[in-house]
């Protein structure tokens, strides 16, 4: 469902990600784990067609992003790090707008909005103005806009960042349900290990722009503490990247 081949992104002299490749099959729920600034958001922005890669290519739902970007975007639901809301709109109005933007035909829009509202537990606030919602509810509206056009692929950038523990467990539960019920392919980024353990079957570890690890959680658990494995990989990645930075500084 998602394929990245040698993705590289440079911002001026800074290399955000280098040669990142992976394949995600239909129905997989994959955690994209890494410290802050590792390149998670950059990778996700490339997969959603927001940023073009400097090198490499990517395909979502079988559509190459460079050639059939519009078709790829149609099958993708995306929740950016901060939900892309319009504060002055009503919740149901906003969802109908997002549905229209994603080519949902007019006669299906009402149904799809209702389904997204139910799925995200937003029935009680559908007539509220987005500005007046609490952070937890805004995050849910963000999730609802990602699924309102019934996408096969969900890309969620730090979906629980900044929420309180109760909201976090609610959102996690919601993501699990969205993935399980519809057989969606989900890729979500986080820097919290527990989050990956709670939701995902597979983990991609990215550090300093390099993909360090691509493994099933079950296999990793067999190797011992997950935390140890991740810390080891992140530290191992730090050394070459640190050297590269030094070389760049000298130049």
């Amino acid at each position: 469902m998602i394929e990245a081949r040698g993705l590289t992104k440079r911002y001026g002299g800074l290399t955000a990600i280098a040669d990142v490749s992976f394949k995600i099959a239909k129905g997989e729920v994959v955690g994209f784990l890494g410290p802050n600034g590792a390149g998670k958001t950059t990778t996700m922005r490339i997969l959603t067609g927001y940023l073009p890669p400097s090198a490499g290519s990517a395909a979502v739902g079988g559509f190459d992003l460079a050639k059939e970007g519009r078709s790829a975007k149609r099958v993708t639901g995306y929740l950016p790090e901060s939900p892309p809301l319009y504060p002055e709109m009503l919740v149901h109005e906003y969802l109908a707008y997002v549905a229209a933007l994603h080519d949902v035909p007019r006669r299906e829009r009402r149904d799809k909005v209702a389904r997204a509202l139910t799925a995200c537990g937003l029935e009680t606030v559908e007539g509220r103005v987005v500005r007046t919602l609490s952070k937890g509810f805004r995050q849910r509206v963000g999730l609802a806009q990602a699924i309102v056009h019934d996408p096969a692929v969900l890309i969620l950038d730090e979906p629980t960042a900044g929420l309180d523990p109760i909201q976090i467990s609610e959102i996690r539960e919601l993501i699990r349900r969205l993935a399980a019920e519809e057989g969606r392919t989900v890729i979500l980024s986080t820097h919290i290990l527990a989050e990956v353990e709670a939701i995902c079957q597979r983990v991609l570890l990215i550090a300093y722009g390099h993909l360090r690890l691509d493994a099933r959680l079950d296999d990793l658990r067999a190797q011992g503490s997950l935390e140890d494995v991740f810390l080891r990989e992140v530290e191992a990645a730090a050394v070459p990247a640190g050297k590269a930075a030094l070389v760049e500084a000298e130049l």
Binding site: P52, T76, Y78, Y86, Y97, V98, A100, L101
Partner: protein, 258 residues
């Protein structure tokens, strides 16, 4: 097309649920009304003076159309330099500031659809402004005898002029996250284009003079406001709109490439 209309519809709805548009258009109407009735008052006083002095030959040149409609339309054109940038400064600047630009750029909507959708919403709003401005003239028709076609030509020119300014401001708002910057630069650009013909007069070279005069907006709305629709002016406004909307589209494209 559906996506374009969805974008335009959302934009318009937002304008009418926030007080911004009401306040701006309200203030515009207040000033415009003041100017209109003040020029009507001046006209009446002057008319009485002319009659009292018995200079009847002056009455031929002294008509309601030029003095009241023409003069106030010129002032309205000046108001547009403030109204249009303030109405359109939200455009892309707000989308970029609150992150919703990411929703637009990751949706199947093309850059052209995004730009045209936003522009259509502003154009509709300016249509409302044009209709409201027309109400003054309707009052004049109730009590006097102005020239219908000249007046309509003036209104049409005012509308076209505001559309051209909107295209410029639409482009400017793609360049910044700050609405204030977008608004101020928009006002500055509008005023600059307005006074270019004045600069032209003081220039030595004939070529430069011609170019500056052609670029200036007032060169092209002055005849229209007085009731004379010229195809070269229509072409000018069409070119300005096309050029700046294309620039806005290129700017939105470049947002994807950062």
């Amino acid at each position: 097309m559906n996506r374009l209309l969805a974008i335009a519809g959302r934009e318009l709805r937002s304008m009418f649920v926030t007080p911004d548009a009401y306040v701006l258009i309200g203030v515009y109407m207040l000033f415009a009304g003041f100017i209109f009735f003040a020029s009507l008052g001046i006209f009446l006083v002057q008319l009485q003076q002319i009659q009292a002095l018995g200079m009847m030959q002056l009455l031929d040149q002294w008509n309601l159309q030029d003095i009241v409609v023409g003069q106030s339309f010129s002032t309205f054109a000046l108001f547009m330099c403030f109204l249009v940038p303030l109405l359109s400064m939200r455009g892309f600047a707000a989308e970029r500031a609150n992150g919703s630009i990411e929703l637009l750029l990751t949706s199947p909507a093309s850059s052209s659809e995004i730009v045209l959708g936003k522009y259509l919403a502003i154009a509709a709003l300016l249509g409302v402004v044009g209709l409201l401005t027309g109400t003054f003239v309707v009052l004049l028709f109730l009590y006097g005898d102005p020239e219908l076609w000249q007046t309509l030509a003036g209104l049409q020119t005012l509308f076209l002029y505001s559309l051209a300014l909107a295209a410029i401001c639409c482009f400017i708002s793609t360049l910044t996250r700050s609405q204030i910057v977008a608004g101020f630069v928009g006002i500055a650009a509008a005023l600059l284009l307005l006074i270019l013909p004045v600069a032209a007069d003081s220039s030595q070279s004939d070529v430069l003079k011609g170019v500056l005069r052609w670029l200036g907006t007032s060169t092209h709305f002055d005849p229209g406001l007085k009731g004379e629709i010229r195809s070269e002016d229509l072409a000018y406004f069409g070119i300005v709109i096309a050029v700046f909307l294309s620039l806005a589209r290129a700017a939105v494209d470049s947002l994807r490439w950062r």
